[in-house]
């Protein structure tokens, strides 16, 4: 292959190193009003009164929204008022919105709004939410409009309950000689994209609504706004320029709704809402928390016979995308292991925490921590090498998933190969513990993961190709460039298929829902796969049109024509042919007669054979393929004060096909760092009122330069026959196994089972003390 696999420089690279790459907040028109939210200082409280009198006195204030009952919003269940009414359900929830001429005026006025609250009992964890008699976050759960496959239980805090029932549990336990059970838990945390969320809205005199937003889902913004407010779809035009990091956090729709309501209240003038870091952390959706119990039984040969799992997801105050996360966690609940007998209950719980959105891995990093810690406990119990236990049970073609999808050589990667490669890369056979001094030891931990993408079963992706007069091609796709480099990879796919120079392909970075074909959402590591397939189809369309015109001009049948190097030519005599520039906009004969016209290629793709899940057993096909990966983490642990240093982190992922080597390495290394930070240091600290105590980057600390470990990355290439050139998704997988591998390494190092995140020295100390 000529272009696939090469480290082609990103199409937007020069813009990004010169400060010319524009993100939503960089677009500024005059006039542009500023919206500023007033947010709840409590986790759960009745709103007694809102006094806006003083705020109205601030010069420049154009409107104040407070106390209005707008249509309820939300994706799977319509449970969220855009601005809180009657009560607030989480710390950070928007209660009022001030619109003023400048950000300073808006802030000044927002600070003068006096809201009187009456505190309510707080639901501070999903386990508490699950208990009988727990305070209700939503008293009217049964009255909300909802999607068909959301299964809330009115009168409780259960937003949805997904059941997996496969095989025969009694038999599974009977066949087991050893059983382990573990409870694992961690609180919500945050994505911390460096670009905080931002949205602008303007309503034109003809009723067109122009939105600009830093979103992974501009097409969903359009659909939801239309749905919520009864607006014609075609009247909503959503622009998304480059997005400054997303990691799932920009898949939900939130600020767009507020910006629209604000603009509507000021006669359609443009209004911008730009999150402060603090708002971005608590007001906008966060990374989900989890309380899990996992029970595994194993036979004499180390083969797992049964798995009983309960996941209580911390969906927070509103269910939004957490319902889908809960389902996704159920369908891959066991991790990448072949288990015949599985029972899983995955609950999305309402709590008084900031509400959850997808997070890179979409439930899989979280469930992997639970499963992989339990796997190590099992290995310990039966005295087996943890890597061998994983190897023996590794999922393979011929096995079925928890939702009973039969796996084959295409729809699942080769986990055993990944495990073997990790074994080599981390020198596992040298032993997992090495003494460095009387204080320090170096310890390795391992883990595995898998993932399918449980996206909407009718999720589409489209691509349009247009020719320029010089024979170059413009590529338009609804994929948002969130940093993954997908749009460059799409250009590589096109260049490979048309056998042309990738430099002659121009990629439109911005998405504009009026002219860009739809790509459902830029999530779930599905950009390369789905949009890639659409590119290939559009390429076929273009080839056909090029040959059509060339066939006429060259007086040769289409079958005799080849395309390469931006030319169409005769297969047996390449010197006879036409350059794209001569036919891309029609061909002009010497006498002036012309044929053809601008060549416009189109391609679209929709995932096939996906089904809804059976509500009683979970049976069904949730996603197209399973990407698998194996991991290792090496730490240097100080036995005296329980501090540790990340030495090495290793991921081997079956990527199907490496499309752009450096981009793929970057994705995997970045994901590993994020996973290590999630596992090792990131969490929301809540007080008894449900307040997040650390919504700032000095108290909520992502990894900084120099804190990253040495990275070891390996790729296995088992082609997914459906994928473009065999590619599988890779954006999330480096992250998913890090919490498990780090937890396993530290548990070995500390000599105590560590079942909570984040793995800070204090937590280790507490676990040591408790074990005394």
């Amino acid at each position: 292959m000529e272009v696939i696999g090469k480290s082609v420089i990103r199409k937007e690279a020069v813009d990004k190193v010169t400060g010319r790459a524009n993100f939503t907040h960089d677009f500024h028109t005059l006039p542009m009003l500023s919206g500023k939210m007033v947010i709840s200082p409590y986790g759960h409280a009745k709103i007694v009164s809102i006094d806006t009198m003083e705020a109205w006195q601030v010069p420049g204030v154009r409107t104040i929204l407070a106390g209005d009952r707008f249509p309820l919003t939300g994706e799977a269940i319509r449970d969220r008022p855009p601005l809180a009414v009657d009560k607030v359900r989480y710390h950070g929830e928007p209660v009022a919105l001030v619109v003023a001429d400048t950000p300073v005026q808006a802030k000044k006025a927002a600070d003068l709004i006096k809201v009187k609250y009456e505190l309510l009992q707080v639901v501070n964890s999903p386990t508490q939410a699950f208990q009988k008699g727990a305070p209700l976050v939503h008293e009217r759960l049964g009255e909300y409009k909802k999607e068909e496959d959301s299964l809330p239980v009115p009168g409780t805090n259960i937003a949805t309950h997904i059941k997996i029932r496969k095989g025969n549990m009694e038999k599974g336990w009977a066949d087991s000689v050893a059983v382990v059970e573990a409870s694992l838990s961690f609180a919500p945390s945050d994505h911390v994209a460096m670009e905080t969320r931002c949205a602008t809205a303007e309503i034109m005199p003809d009723g067109n609504i122009i939105i600009m937003t830093s979103s992974q889902a501009p097409f969903m913004v359009k659909r939801l706004l239309s749905d919520y407010f009864g607006i014609d779809l075609g009247k909503i035009i959503v622009h998304t320029p480059l997005v400054g990091g997303a990691y799932g956090g920009k898949a939900p729709v939130q600020l767009e709704v507020l910006a629209y309501l604000a603009s509507k209240a000021v006669g359609g003038k443009p209004v911008k809402i730009f999150n402060t870091r603090e708002e971005d952390i608590i007001t906008s959706p966060c990374h989900i928390g989890l309380d899990a119990t996992v029970k595994l039984g194993v036979n004499r040969d180390g083969k797992i016979q049964a798995a009983e799992i309960r996941y209580l997801w911390d969906g927070g105050a509103y269910s939004d995308k957490a319902i889908d996360v809960t389902r996704s966690g159920a369908v891959d609940c066991t991790g990448p292991y072949n288990i015949e007998n599985v029972s899983c209950d995955s609950y999305c719980m309402y709590t008084n925490h900031p509400y959850a959105s997808p997070f890179r891995g979409f439930s899989h990093a979280e469930l992997s921590f639970a499963i992989e810690r339990t796997m190590d406990l099992l290995a310990q119990k039966i005295n087996m090498d943890p890597l061998v236990l994983r190897y023996i049970n590794a999922i393979m073609p011929g096995n079925t998933t928890p939702t009973r999808v039969l796996l084959n050589k295409s729809n699942v990667g080769n986990l055993r190969k990944c495990i073997e490669k990790v074994r080599e890369l981390i020198h596992w056979d040298e032993g997992s513990v090495k003494e460095v001094s009387d204080r320090l030891i170096r310890v390795k931990g391992v883990s595995c993961s898998w993932k399918t993408s449980t996206i909407d079963i009718d999720a589409p992706s489209g691509v349009i190709l247009t020719f320029n007069r010089d024979g170059t091609i413009n590529l338009m796709s609804g994929v948002v460039e969130i940093g993954t480099g997908t749009k460059t990879i799409l250009a590589q796919i096109l260049a490979e298929r048309l056998k042309m120079d990738v430099d002659n392909i121009h990629v439109k970075m911005e998405v504009d829902t009026q002219t860009t074909p739809e790509h459902w959402k830029t999530v779930a590591s599905r950009g390369t796969f789905m949009a890639g397939r659409a590119v290939l189809k559009a390429a076929e369309d273009v080839l056909d049109q090029l040959k059509e015109v060339a066939s006429c001009v060259l007086r040769a049948p289409k079958e005799d024509l080849e395309v390469a190097g931006s030319r169409v030519f005769l297969r047996d005599d390449p010197s006879i042919g036409l350059h794209f520039k001569d036919i891309g906009h029609g061909y002009k004969y010497p006498n002036g007669n012309s044929i053809g016209g601008q060549i416009i290629g189109r391609g679209s793709y929709i995932l096939r054979h996906l089904t809804h899940l059976n509500p009683e057993t979970g049976a069904g096909k949730p996603g197209p393929e399973w990407t698998v990966a194996a991991y290792g983490v090496e730490i240097e642990f100080d036995r005296r004060d329980y501090t540790y240093r990340l030495v090495k982190a290793c991921t081997v992922v079956d990527i199907g096909k490496v499309m752009n080597e450096k981009a793929a390495l970057g994705q995997v290394m970045g994901a590993m760092s994020m996973g290590l930070a999630f596992a090792g240091r990131e969490t929301f600290y809540f007080d008894e009122l449900g307040r997040v105590l650390n919504p700032q980057l000095r108290t909520y600390r992502p990894l900084r330069y120099g804190e990253n470990p040495e990275y070891l990355v390996g790729f296995v290439e088992t082609p997914q026959l459906d994928g473009p050139y065999g590619a599988r998704g890779v954006g999330e997988h480096g992250l998913m196994g890090m919490p498990g591998a780090l937890g396993n390494a530290l548990s070995i190092a500390a000599g105590v089972s560590l079942n909570n995140l984040p793995l800070i020295p204090e937590l280790i100390w507490k676990a040591k003390e408790a074990a005394k």
Binding site: G19, F23, N708
Partner: protein, 151 residues
């Protein structure tokens, strides 16, 4: 509202601005001068996305008032062109989403100018003031070192 009119020297050009005395340099660069390469990420100095160069030293422009910059030489990412560090960032894939990139490049650029022989310790000391959430730290390290080696 009290305003102040003065001249800022930005990227080698004199620019007259009228600002509130409390306006930050970041806000002024972005809103008054249209220099949106400097990014707001936290507005309190934690993340470094707004880093510019003031009289040769990196400065988080959210921590400096516009009025404080009068009489100083301010360089923003827009003021750099074809520098070795920009090229190195491209070649080494030292960014993904690109939001933190201008701040990182300004910091690296100042580092290279102030400490052309910087060792690992110095590089870390300088660069740990910026956050890259896509976490291209390995690639950033390669990029910086490739330029340091040449100088």
């Amino acid at each position: 509202m009290k305003t102040y009119t003065g001249t800022l020297n930005v990227n080698g050009e004199s620019r007259m601005v009228t600002v509130r005395s409390a306006d930050t340099l970041l806000y002024t660069l972005r809103r008054m001068l249209g220099l949106t390469g400097s990014k707001p990420g936290c507005l309190n100095g934690d993340c470094g996305a707004c880093t510019v160069n003031v009289d040769g030293w990196p400065m988080k422009s959210c921590l400096m008032l516009a009025v404080e910059a009068v009489g100083k030489k301010v360089t923003t990412i827009e003021g750099l062109a074809d520098t070795p560090i920009q090229k190195a960032f491209v070649e080494h894939f030292a960014f993904q989403c690109g939001y933190c990139t201008p701040g990182f490049i300004m910091n690296c650029h100042s580092l290279i100018e102030q400490h052309p022989d910087a060792d690992d310790h110095t590089i870390k000391e300088w660069l740990e003031s910026n956050i890259c959430r896509c976490t291209s730290y390995f690639e950033i390290e390669q990029a910086v070192k490739s330029v340091l080696k040449k100088t």
